[in-house]
Every structure is written in C-alpha cells, then in structure tokens.
Symmetry: C2
Subunit: 405 residues, 2 copies
C-alpha cells in the first residue's frame, strides 16, 4: 500500500517533525511502498498535486526539515462540504488516491483539519472504501480537547517565554516609570499567554500582570492593577492575549478601534496591545510601549523546544501504526502519566470528539482577580519547553528545506 | 587608580560584552585597583550611585553577563548641559569621582553618549583635572561615522535576517496571493533593513523589495513594485525601515495616521508597516500582514552574533588601554583591513568627529529604482553575523544576570 501525508492550517515549528514521523515510519514499514506528500493540504489530493517523498527525501534532507519552520508541503484553509450535500470533491479525492494506490491519509492540523478527517473517514466508511483517514494534532494554541497538550505549543511557549524574558531586561534599563505590554497569540484561549508565568521558576518577577480571554476584562480594573504595581517597580510588564476584548462602554468606542471591515468581512481592529497602550498614555501618562509577537511565535524554529520536536515526530509515527492496525477516523492524543518526572503516553481518540471543540485554560489556574496565573500551571508548562535542537547553519543562518514542486 | 564604566542609550545584545571588556582589562592591569560601574549611565556618577564591580563580579557572573541582553548597569537618556552655561553637574561628577579615586570614565553608547564624552573630556582638560573620558561605541543602527561598523549591529542583523527567513517560510505556505511587510528599526538610516539582503547568499529570493529612509518613497511606485513581483510569486515579502516616510499628498492625510500628539509632543503615528498594510488592503485587496520586529531586534541575546560579542568585548578592553596611555576625548573605531578573509583592526578617533554625526547607508549599494540592495553590500554584512554563543540555560530558559543595587 501507499500512504499520503498533508499539512493544514496555521504553521507551527514542529508540523514538519510530525510529517517526518509519518514519512520515516512509512519508509520503515515493509507494508508501505510509497509515502506521498499532498501539496497545500487537502488541495493537493483534489488537484492531484502530490510529491513522492520516498523518492525525494534524503537522510540529510530529513535533518534540515526537522529545523525548518512552517509547512514544507504548504498549507490550506479548505473546508470540505458535507458529502450528503455535495460529494463531487470526495469522488475526486478517492479517484486520485486510487490512481496512486493510496489507502491511508494523514492530516496534520488543528480543529478545522480534524473536521476534514472526520468527514473523509465517514465518507470512506459509508462507501465501503478500504481507505483510512487519521488526524495528527498541531496548534500553538494548545486548545484541542482530549489531549494533555498539542505539538507546536511547547515551541511557541519556549519562544514566548524566552522573548518575554529578553523584553523584561530591555524594558528595565531606565529609572523612569514605564509600562510594556506584550500581545500574545490566542483568540479564544490564553494558554500561550499564560505560559509567560513560567519565568517565575527562575526568579523573574515579571510579567506582573497576565490577562487571558477566559476572563472578563475591565479597563478601569486594569488601570488600577498597573497603578498598584507602579508603587513597587518603575517598569511594569503586562502579558495580554490577543483575544482579550474591551467591553467597557467608556472605552470600546474609541477611535483607535477603526471598525473597518476587511475583505473577508472581519472587523478590522487595532490589536488589544496597541489599544491598551493608548489608554495608558491617556489615563496614566507614563512611557508606554506595546509589542506584538506576531507570527514569530509560530515560526521561530531556531528556538524550538526539542521536547516538542521529539513528541511531534513520535506522534506522526504512531499515526502510521494506527493505519496499519486498520483504524480510521482517529487522532492521536497525549496522556500525561507522570508529572515529576514528566512522562507522556500516546493513545488515540475518535476525531469526532476533537473536531470543532475548544479546550480553555483551566479557571482554577487563574488567580481570583483574573490578572495572573497560579503556580500550579508552572509544572504543567515547564517540561514542554525543555531542550534545543543543534541547529545546522550556513553562512551564520539556519538551513531551511524547500521542496521542489 | 580606579576607573568607572557606564552604559547609555538604547540597549543592544553586546553592550554588556563591552562593559566586560572594560572590567576584565581593568582587573588585569596592575595600575588599576577598582573598576566601578555607574548605575543608569552618567546619572550614577551624578547621584554617587556606583557599584564596585571588582568586588561584585565572579568568573561565573562574567559568563552570564556575556549572554544577558540590555544594560546590566542600567541606562539613561541624560544630556549634559554646556559647561560654560552651567557647570554645577560637572562639579558634582568630579567631586564624586575624586571621592572614589576614579581617574578614568568609560561611556558605552551611541551618538548622544559620545556628546557626553566630548563635553566631559573638554571640561576635565580645561580644568586641568587628571581624569580622562573615553567613548566605547554601540548601536544597532550602525550609523556612527569613522568606524566600519558598530558593536551591536551584527547581533541585530543576525536576529533580523534569521527572523526574516523564518517569516518568509511562514508567509509562503498558502497558494493565495499575499503580501507580508516587515518593519525594521532605523529612523534615519537603513543599515539594519538593508541587512536582510544577506539572505540571498543562501539562495533566498525574498525579501523581494527593500526600502530605506535614505531614498524617497512613493506609494504609487511601491504599489507598482508589488504588482510586478506578484506576477512571479503569490507571496511577496517587503522589508521597510521604520524611518521611511509617506510624503505622497494622496496618502499622507489618511486616517491610519492619527496625527495625535503624545505627552512628549511627538506626533503619534501608526508605523510605516501598518500604514502600507492598509494601503495595500485598499488598493490591491489581497491578503496582507505587517510585522514590527520591535525591541526584539536589540535584545534577542539568545541569537547574538559571536563575532559581535567578541569585537564588543575587545573594543572595551582597548578603551582601557587608551586611558592607561593617558588619552582622553577619544573613542574606538573598527577599520576593515581585509575583506576576504574578514579582518578588522581597532584604532581610536577623536570623539568630536563622531558625536552628533550620522553615517548613512551608501547610495551605491541601493539599486537604481530604490527598492532593493545590490550584491556588493552582502560581503560587507556577512562576516558581522557569524557564530553563536553556547547559551547557558536554566529550566530551558537562558540565564540572565541582574545586578544587586
């Protein structure tokens, strides 16, 4: 049999490690002849745009792919229609899979990708096709249910904490009062923002305030929080999730939120960091700077967590084992079986349990005032950011792998 | 004799290495008993806020300081008045220096700090005081005259190029047309933005367009440039200096530039990256994202250039030699004596030649259209980003040194 792997959704630092996990396990198995890569996610299967990875990737390539950010096979945001309503695209996919003798599809992605895996496996089953679809989780948001954490999150947390620590040093050099606001990814959940509490393990006092979308946000309470910290230190550091919303009537109409609508119909607004910067300038009047960590949170492979890379690669390999066992409509999950020392086991779950669900940051790990994270969260985060890859460089820059299309 | 070292202006990744250069050379010399650190730049000498580094720093501390970003001794933005107009602060400084038997002052900083060194050495000389003042250059902007390059620039360039390469990967995963604009520090000069051309040495085609403040900027030409690149690739990457200004009448009044005035009287405007993002959204209508690399450019010590660290430390040591030779009112400069292999020599220059001057990016290294950098610049940049420090970590995070005040 042949198999095919694809990558979908927003990039992470280890989505390529999971692809390698599928590729290397497939190559190792004597039941599998060829491992194909589908370019631009499911779109590659629809347009018959496949690469024979078995014939393409050398051992050296594998090493470089492990340290390459984003998706080597490209990505997409394609959402499958319900097959009951329109099965055309399903028929095309099956036709192309059969043409290449492919009987297993592995989709590395987040919530939306799990929806695709669920729909495909249902269609394959209903039409008595001997093809399986398996999901491999990834997201820097760490918001998939049923799993202890998601591949990609550890590397993002390592970047965010390391960078936050450097920003704290940078922001603390002057003796005058200043506020630094760092906006961190997470529209619905605050996992990544909360990970900055990790810095306390090395004695760091900042960030002094941490705000997640899981709790309601009040601008006036925020200003009081800032004034309180300013009594103790001139340099106040704030971590805030991009998903935190200003609902106070007094502030929500301010003109820093332009209210424009973009091409996709999304309301075009200034980020929360920038909005809070303006409010502090107006209401407190001290020096203030907002910093958006932006896509660097998901693509700074030079600082990826080795633990994350290893787990991502392993979970990719386990996906192939599931397929060889004849399973379909499943995804892989981590169970933390020991906290200290840290130990995870990989098992599988029905993809229907995970698709379109959201795992929020636990309320019991947020302090009463909703402006910081409790120490209990630290031992959860800590093992996920451990270790670094020995990066191969050329001319002082990390080597990246680019696939020939 | 005793000596004192201070740090000033915006942080870099290697300003602490220069401090170590002064400290270690001072410790090594049998003519020097104590090396003091002045906290918060010249303010420490004014307020008698000094730390005896000789008694404070262990060998282990030295290793951690080398990898600590920002200024271990704090910083300031203090500008000395002319001594002819008001000599009070000069008298206080001299009184405090004499009280600690200090006869040499080393100031690590940029343009403004060189102004302080110039004024102090002039005052010392005019008053027949046996005290010298020596400048040690640093700035990520690379805009000091008389020197081949400045300590701090190489590390900033290494961060900017490495991160730009990762952003290119991240931005290239989808098959739909998209523009990514990366805004890079440099208000007056485009050195750091131009360094992104370095990626070509490893075969990278992006950034496709590079704009510096040294050349006039036209929005309509910019839009034409984008459309031209879009014919060849769906993912267009742009590097733009923060100092690039929109002067086109058609666009300069747009509401994305709020025109508000902040507490310091500065016109509060959205960054150039964000402004261009809005213009592309309105005029081209494709997916567009702007990214501001912000303070990470100057504080990402985990990615500092080893070449830069070594040179910064060496130049600090050479400053002490100048003082021991009885010189004052000098600063250190690099002369590139060989291009391939790269070799620099350190010599000295009158600080009056450097203070308040600006070295612009050479016009001959900008292409005719003013939207890219020529290959000649690459061999200038390349040696400056070479090598990495073996970072000491604790709990997966780089160790930082914090001075006890």
């Amino acid at each position: 049999m042949n198999i095919v792997v694809a990558q979908s959704g927003g990039p992470t630092c280890v989505i390529n490690a999971s692809m390698l996990g599928v590729f290397l396990k497939g190559k190792e198995s004597d039941k599998i002849q060829k491992v194909y890569g589908s370019l631009n996610g499911i779109e590659g299967l629809i347009n018959d745009n496949l690469v024979d990875l078995t014939a393409t990737l050398s051992e050296k390539d594998v090493e470089i792919i492990r340290q390459t950010p984003a998706t080597v096979l490209g990505s997409c945001r394609y959402k499958l229609p319900d097959s009951e309503k329109d099965s055309t695209v399903y028929e095309t996919i099956v036709k192309n899979m059969k043409a290449h003798s492919i009987s297993a599809f592995f989709y590395i992605g987040g919530n939306d990708s799990m929806d695709t895996v669920m729909k495909l496996s249902k269609y394959f089953k209903e039409n008595n096709l001997d093809i399986c679809a398996i999901g491999v989780p990834k997201t820097i948001d760490n918001d998939l249910v049923e799993t202890d954490h998601t591949p990609g999150f550890g590397s993002a947390a390592k970047y965010v904490t390391t960078t936050m620590q450097e920003i704290i040093r940078d922001s603390s050099v002057y003796s005058i009062p200043a506020v630094t606001i760092v906006e961190i990814m997470g529209r619905d959940t605050g996992w990544l923002t909360a990970s900055t509490s990790l810095l306390r393990v090395n004695g760091e006092k900042a960030p002094h305030l941490i705000y997640l979308p899981e709790r309601e946000f009040s601008v006036n309470e925020f200003l009081d929080d800032i004034r309180e910290i300013q009594k103790e230190t001139p340099s106040v550091i704030v971590a805030v999730s991009e998903g935190v919303e200003i609902t106070d009537e007094e502030f929500s109409g301010d003109d820093f939120r332009s209210g424009k609508v973009d091409n996709f119909g999304h309301k075009y607004i200034a980020g929360i960091g920038r909005a809070l910067e303006e409010i502090i300038t107006n209401k407190i009047g001290c020096k203030v700077r907002s910093i958006e960590l932006n896509v660097m949170q998901r693509c700074s492979s030079h600082l990826a967590s080795l633990q994350d890379i290893k787990e991502a690669e392993k979970i990719g390999g386990e996906a192939v084992k599931l397929a060889l066992d004849g399973l379909s409509g499943k995804t892989l999950v981590f169970k933390r079986v020991s906290i200290n020392p840290y130990k995870v086991e990989i098992s599988s779950a029905d993809v229907s349990k995970i698709a379109n669900q959201v795992k929020y940051f636990p309320p019991e790990w947020i302090n009463e005032k909703g402006n910081n994270i409790t120490d209990d969260a630290i031992e959860y985060f800590l093992p996920l950011i451990q270790g670094e890859l020995d990066i191969q460089r050329e001319n002082g820059l990390p080597k990246h792998y680019i696939i020939k299309k």
